[in-house]
């Protein structure tokens, strides 16, 4: 139990996927202009990461290892994750139009997001058990959402600030992202691993 909690905390704060591992930077910068959309994107990522880690764990241990073709891990994972997300998108669109409105548009964006693939590959590398890899994926998603929402909040405030002309737009966004990453480095002493 303690082990699982450590994995969770470590994935959310210490090894935050965006701010410490530099994975998933594209949506982090692209969809973070408003807290609302950042939260929607975050929820979609949590969901996809968790589902993807479940499926890829089974692919790895029931298909790739028994056939001795672990070297095909990356391509197999991308294939499975992409089609899975597509499937989920279709099901949501049919069953819950409301959820589709808030989540649906983000799903295609993250089919082959490196953060999602990163979770799958990392939990195999760390030879996590099934439960551990699910918790790890959940933590990674939560950490991603946390970073997104914090950053979107900062950017919303930045919009109202008298930013020097040369720094406006992407420049100040990148500087802010750097400072946020710096702040997250402070968690490094929290959990070892």
């Amino acid at each position: 139990m303690v082990e699982l909690l450590l994995i969770l905390i470590s994935a959310v704060f210490v090894n935050n996927f965006v701010l410490a591992r530099f994975l998933g930077i594209c949506p982090f910068l692209g969809v973070s202009k408003k807290v609302e959309t950042a939260l929607g994107m975050g929820m979609a990522v949590i969901f996809v990461m968790t589902v993807a880690s479940v499926v890829t764990w089974f692919i790895q241990y029931l298909v790739l290892i028994p056939f001795g073709i672990e070297y095909l891990q990356t391509i197999a994972f991308i294939l499975v994750i992409a089609s899975l997300v597509q499937l989920v998108e279709m099901v949501i669109q049919k069953t819950s139009p409301v959820l589709y409105q808030s989540l649906g548009i983000f799903l295609p964006l993250i089919t082959t997001n490196c953060a999602v693939l990163g979770v799958a590959v990392l939990s195999i590398q760390k030879s996590y058990s099934f439960l551990e890899s699910v918790v790890f994926a959940l933590g990674a998603g939560l950490g991603f959402t946390l970073a997104m929402v914090l950053f979107a909040g900062l950017r919303e405030r930045l919009d109202l600030c008298p930013v020097p002309k040369a720094f406006r737009g992407t420049a100040i966004a990148l500087i802010t992202a750097g400072l946020l990453s710096l702040a997250f480095m402070g968690f490094a002493g929290l959990v070892k691993g």
Binding site: I69, V80, S83, L87, M90, Q93, T95, L160
Partner: protein
């Protein structure tokens, strides 16, 4: 080698079959007219129609729950196209543009206090009802300029919002963004406006603004049809806007402006051409 090919091929095949079945089973039927309507809408997602985004409006129009002429950015052209798609008669709304009813920039209007806060009119308005002595005038911090999805608003160097009559599509986003209700919607072909938003008495207006309406009623006497004076503020009756121009020279504070002679002082926009009104031209 064979195992690798078979495995990846197998995974791909399973995924393809699953997706194929899902696409059939979970297919959501979209009215093709909805897509066609969405095509002719400008895609600004401005919300002027009162629905969330152009897709929402297209859906509403096709279902018949909302009128077809509410897309102001699309104008008469898109209304006609929508009407054609749906096989209904086009009823175009008179095109309107937003006008900032104020000419009191930082040179002409007195400040109440020195404001150093956030660059945002709504924030400034919360501090003792805004930094301008005039209770109705433009605060000049550019909230409307940032709200405009079409880049139709500029701030003059002296802090006055000016809306381009050519770029404005009438989406009313700026009207909602302004904390002082100084922006109003007026017919596109009405070029003459009383550019003042202060309801104070003449003596009070004179104290804080060189170019405000002092409710002297001279415009009303010159062109009785074209003006009304309410709460110490003259307003153009837009149904009779063509007669309003007669009073421009008579106004003692020069707060009536004919936009065809140019925008308020400090604006970089060239004088707009007078639009041809379809009804009066015919």
């Amino acid at each position: 080698m064979l195992a690798a090919v078979l495995t990846i091929g197998g995974i791909g095949l399973v995924a393809a079959v699953a997706l194929g079945i899902a696409a059939k089973k979970f297919a959501v039927e979209v009215d093709p007219r909805e897509l066609a309507v969405l095509e002719v809408l400008p895609g600004a997602n401005c919300g002027a129609c009162g629905l969330p985004g152009c897709a929402g409006y297209a859906k509403g129009v096709v279902e018949g729950t909302i009128a077809a002429n509410l897309c102001t950015p699309g104008g008469a052209e898109s209304v006609e196209q929508i009407a054609h798609i749906l096989g209904i008669e086009a009823v175009t709304a008179d095109p309107k543009v937003a006008v900032v009813l104020c000419q009191g920039d930082n040179q002409k209007a007195t400040a109440k206090y020195r404001y150093l806060g956030l660059d945002d009119c709504n924030a400034a308005q919360k501090i003792a009802d805004g930094p301008k002595a005039c209770p109705g005038g433009c605060l000049g911090l550019g909230s409307c300029e940032r709200a405009c999805p079409f880049g139709a608003i500029e701030m003059t160097p002296e802090g006055l919002a000016v809306i381009s009559r050519e770029k404005c599509t009438g989406c009313e986003k700026c009207v909602a963004a302004c904390p002082r209700q100084v922006i109003s919607m007026a017919p596109l072909d009405a070029m003459t406006h009383v550019l003042c938003n202060s309801h104070d008495k003449g003596a009070a207006v004179r104290k804080y603004c060189q170019i405000g309406c002092i409710a002297c009623h001279i415009c009303k006497k010159t062109a009785p049809e074209a003006y009304k004076v309410e709460n110490f503020l003259a307003i153009v009756e837009y149904e009779h806007h063509l007669e309003a121009a007669a009073a421009i020279g008579k106004c003692p504070t020069k707060c009536i402006r004919d936009f065809s002679t140019g925008y308020p002082q400090g604006s970089s926009y060239p004088a707009p051409s007078v639009p041809v009104n379809r009804d009066s031209a015919a």
